[in-house]
Amino acid sequence: MTLDDPFSDAALVARAAAGSDAAFGRLVQRHQGAVRAFVRRVLGGDRAEADDVSQDAFLAAWSSLRSLRNPDGVRSWLCGIAWRKAQDRIRSRRRAATRDADWVEAVKASPGVHPQDRVALTAAMAELSPETRACVALCLAEGWSHSEAAVTLALPLGTVKSHIARGRARLLGALGGPDDA
């Protein structure tokens, strides 16, 4: 643990577990981007729902900070909690109700990104299995290593690799590239 640096993840986790709101706030600030991006991609577009799930994940993390074995791996731990929350949400939600919101989110303009490509990517992501989406979200979108994703998602390394290969081929196919999945 790197407790010498007062702003390291390990030090912040220790202070947050002792009751410091400031330390927990710093952890939220530092990791919200990764957690929200991951949940958005796993859930497939509805940002409000993804943020709600992300907030649930941070709340669950706050409740169980003392159970964190490796404070330096707090990002993986948070994403692991977010993954379980997202799985619960996927099981419970009704896809039809969110389809319109997904489309509106998909066509929101971003500089340098063609709305058609965005819609195609959103649709292709929605067709992937939740596990494949999670692997793609961590490794292709966020640049995590395969082994890091395997630990976070509690999946075997080989399974992660095959999910990524399959997902990447599908996504490239949707964007006009070769689809050899």
């Binding site: 202070r15 400031a22 330390a23 600030q29 991006a37 941070f58 990517l121």
Partner: protein, 99 residues
């Protein structure tokens, strides 16, 4: 633009901002709500114990002090209330002050 570059650009465009005060505040609000419920829940057993002790004390002291109870009761209630509030405030301040 190759499909690989497109994919990278799309993922980059979809990334949340590095800082999002609204999100951070909402998490803090939900944490505060959870803590308030936990605190209220933790105080329930102590309240029950305190109520039982006061009831037992009342039953034991009534025959001894008799008529004094009429004048002492309001004062005792005020002191108990003030003392409980002070102890709870000190405990909550120590437990949840930002380290």
């Amino acid at each position: 633009m190759t499909p690989d570059q497109k994919l990278e650009a799309l993922f980059s465009a979809d990334r949340p901002p590095a800082r999002d005060f609204a999100f951070e505040i909402e998490v803090a609000r939900r944490v505060a709500m959870r803590r308030a419920w936990l605190t209220a829940g933790a105080l329930v057993p102590w309240s029950v114990v305190a109520a039982f002790l006061l009831w037992a004390l009342d039953a034991a002291l009534t025959p001894i002090i008799g008529g004094l109870a009429d004048t002492a009761l309001p004062l005792a209630m005020a002191l108990t209330l003030a003392g409980s509030a002070a102890v709870a405030a000190i405990w909550l301040t120590r437990r949840f002050s930002a380290a």
